[in-house]
């Protein structure tokens, strides 16, 4: 699809968004109530004094229409050369093999790869807690995280002493801790609650502990997408932490927010950079745009590459189910988009697992993958339902504590539902 075509579709989608909202709710409501009730129908009619006052329909400050948000223009060359002021080692492009190799630990060790998955990150949080409980959790020499995996990664990297904090972060939150309903010029919802949550959970002590581990040779990478450049960015979180100071802590937290910023749904995160003395901001969004998890730069992961991972073992935690969830899709925009993106994420994740498996094999190291068990089923009352997340955390914990938390090969590709598979009659066969 061309970019012009994408823009046209997205523009139409934006215009339709209000319609989506309306059509989503009207069918659920009583027929007698489906005649729109305007402001007059629900205007306050309270105390005597209130009745005598003019009821405003809109406060004056709510009247202005949204204007396009300003951006400082920059060239592709400037973006390619841009760096974080005072922290040149804070990040590198994910397609830069040299930068990647230079950032790695000097000694091989186990790598932990944490995928995207939204509220299903509760599975990964539970798995890590379970691994600790069973005494089978190593100090990973490299930890990478994408989206919800990025939120798990700092705790996973810092070690078991942060297990309780990790558990609470994925079992004691609700959607109100993640977003506020109400569109911004850049998104369907506002994520100031998530920004506040990250500021609360990613404490100065946690950042200091990550800095210490970085100095000891371990590496924590978080993935975002530079939407301006259409390139994936690897953030060297340990290096950022090691810089110390408020600017480093703010950048650390902003990178985590950016990695979870689902484009269109959540506002992008603008990160200040500098190139050749020029200051501008890059638009960073969810790392999952470039892939559901990150092991190494794509050129090194390529089937034709001979690159061997300098790891002793590869562990991939997939915070999502990989099996199709069959359902009769309602004929509505949001239902069609939901089912489509859900399928795309699963397909992308499954294909990436194959790639990671093959790279591990050619590197001569063990491949280990854990994903949400097929038999896990729990009701969910909306996004980030704490009861659902607690159940998923427990499923992850149980798996982590079990004798075999990981599989040595990717799960089989989903086939057609068994109930629908019928062996054809072999008429005439002898």
């Amino acid at each position: 699809m061309t970019m012009d075509a994408s823009r046209a579709i997205c523009a139409v989608a934006g215009v339709l968004s209000a319609l989506v909202i309306y059509t989503a709710v009207v069918p659920l409501l009583p027929a007698h109530a489906q005649t729109a009730s305007g402001p007059s129908a629900s205007a306050p009619r309270g105390n005597l004094r209130a009745r005598t006052r003019k009821v405003p329909s809109q406060p004056p400050i709510a009247a202005p229409q949204p204007k396009p948000l300003p951006r400082t223009p920059f060239t592709a060359a400037e973006d390619a050369a841009a760096a974080i002021p005072g922290m040149p080692d804070a990040r590198f492009w994910a397609d830069s093999t040299d930068d990647f190799n230079n950032a790695l630990p000097s000694k091989p060790g186990p790598w932990l790869i944490l995928s995207s998955g939204g509220e299903d990150g509760a599975f990964g949080a539970g798995l890590l807690n379970g691994l600790t409980a069973s005494g089978k959790r190593p100090d990973y020499s490299v930890v990478t995280g994408v989206s919800t995996g990025a939120l798990i990664a700092p705790f996973a990297f810092a070690g078991a002493r942060y297990d309780d904090a990790l558990r609470d972060a994925f079992t004691k939150i609700t959607s109100a801790d993640i977003f506020e309903i109400g569109a911004t010029p850049e998104s369907f919802v506002n994520t100031w609650p998530l920004k506040d949550l990250i500021a609360k959970e990613i404490t100065p002590q946690l950042i200091a502990d990550i800095a210490a581990q970085y100095r000891a040779g371990r590496r924590l990478f978080v993935i975002t997408t530079d939407l301006d450049a259409e390139r994936t960015v690897v953030w060297n979180m340990g290096a950022i932490a090691a810089h110390g100071g408020e600017a480093a802590r703010e950048l650390f937290r902003n990178v985590l927010l950016a990695s979870t910023s689902i484009p269109g749904a959540f506002p992008p995160t603008l990160i200040d950079v500098e190139a050749g003395g020029k200051h501008f901001a890059e638009m960073n969004v969810d790392g999952g745009v470039g892939g559901q998890f990150f092991v190494a730069p794509a050129p090194l992961m390529a089937a034709a590459s001979a690159y061997k991972l300098p790891a002793s073992e590869l562990y991939v935690v997939v915070d999502s189910g990989l099996q199709p969830t069959s359902e009769v899709v309602p004929r509505s925009i949001e239902a069609i988009l939901t089912q489509s993106v859900d399928m795309m994420v699963k397909v992308d994740t499954r294909l990436m697992l194959d790639r990671a498996y093959l790279v591990a094999r050619r590197s001569g190291i063990g491949f280990n993958v854990a994903s949400i068990p097929q038999d896990f089923h729990a009701p969910s009352r909306g996004a980030f339902d704490p009861d659902y997340m607690k159940a998923l955390f427990q499923a992850g914990f149980n798996l982590g504590k079990s004798a075999a938390p990981f599989n040595a090969v990717p799960p089989p590709y989903p086939g057609p539902p068994e109930s629908q598979v019928q062996e054809p009659e072999k008429a005439g066969a002898n």
């Binding site: 009207v26 629900s42 205007a43 209130a50 405003p56 509220e119 959607s175 749904a265």
Partner: protein
């Protein structure tokens, strides 16, 4: 993950009206017996939690109080919020949209507030908390 996607794509006014409808009711202003006040004017964020019923577990949405009157803080034409805050902080709000109505009552203090809510058909009920955002 799928539940999350569904919400993102729907940006569910169902949430606003059923869960979110929390602080609201056409009868609510009658509960505000003290004179209205501007002391609580500003932007507020309200967290709605469902304690009973098959509604979304929790949502947060913005409200604006202006001249003692409660109204929505965004420009979505598909729902409406109306309510009032009394001098003693007592608040009553009605949320109407797409035909659904919900009622919320409670009390605000300088920078926070809390109360209860229910849908007009009794399908769901719960509690709400609010914090001042500006």
């Amino acid at each position: 993950m799928k539940g999350f996607l569904r919400v993102i794509f729907a940006v569910s006014v169902t949430a606003l009206l059923i869960a979110g409808a929390s602080p609201g009711s056409s009868a609510a202003p009658r509960l505000v017996r003290s004179p209205l006040t501007r002391a609580f004017d500003g932007l507020w964020s309200v967290e709605i939690v469902t304690s009973f019923g098959d509604c979304n577990n929790s949502y947060r949405y913005p409200l604006r109080i202006w001249d003692g009157h409660v109204m929505k803080a965004d420009q979505d034409p598909n729902y409406n919020v109306a309510g009032a805050v009394g001098r003693n902080g007592a608040i009553g709000v009605t949320v109407v949209g797409g035909g659904q109505t919900a009622t919320g009552t409670g009390r605000l203090t300088t920078n926070s507030g809390n109360g209860i809510w229910h849908t007009s058909n009794g399908e769901c009920s719960g509690r709400w908390t609010a914090e001042r955002r500006g």
